[in-house]
Symmetry: C2
Subunit: 121 residues, 2 copies
């Protein structure tokens, strides 16, 4: 199994997600300092546009470069705060999720088998 | 700025993405070994369903627990292969993306300013 493309695709998903979170933070900040610009940025940042962080930034750069630079700065800052925690947190998250699904499955089996056991008496 | 919710939300996005990649790999494997099941899994795994990896697994567990266990195993394995590379790769990706957007912006400014400079002569 060649996992290299999956590693790169996952990194790309994370970067786009941090771009989205950076935009959300900036909209929150603008709501306090410049409400009309907050409305404009919210309308500009449609969910299908922001799915690809790089294309989104490219488009934003053409219409408001100051905001584009701000998104890049906040995204980089978020990266510094978030990225190092990801491996451990995801590893734990996957383990916990797997255990939870397995537990729910066993509980269901038990629920189904208990009435049968009662009937046998 | 409270980044804790963003860290957890990002981890959740990564886990869901690895679930999606695990399903893709299993569909590829099934296409060789069990084509009808590959078709079934592809039809079951609609993009809106798979956006939330945990809900997807919960649903899959109710209809085909063997496949659900397989998705969990492959996802965990993918995590081991992918997660440790993410911080560095994302950090580099963000830096490169920022530099690229800035360079494109400067090139555009230069393109716009060169004709003016020529006119001045």
């Amino acid at each position: 199994m060649n996992v290299k493309p999956i590693i790169h695709a996952t990194a790309s998903v994370v970067i786009s997600y941090l771009t989205y979170q950076a935009v959300r933070l900036i909209i929150q900040q603008l709501e306090e300092t410049n409400p009309p610009l907050a409305i404009w940025l919210r309308q500009f940042s449609t969910s299908d546009k922001i799915q690809d962080g790089d294309r989104y930034l490219q488009e934003l750069m053409t219409v408001n470069q100051e905001l584009a630079y701000r998104v890049m700065t906040v995204r980089q800052h978020l990266g510094e705060e978030v990225l190092d925690y990801l491996p451990e947190l995801c590893r734990t998250g996957i383990l916990q999720s797997n255990q939870q699904h397995q537990r729910q499955h066993f509980e269901k089996i038990m629920e189904l088998s208990i009435p049968e056991a009662t009937e046998d008496r």
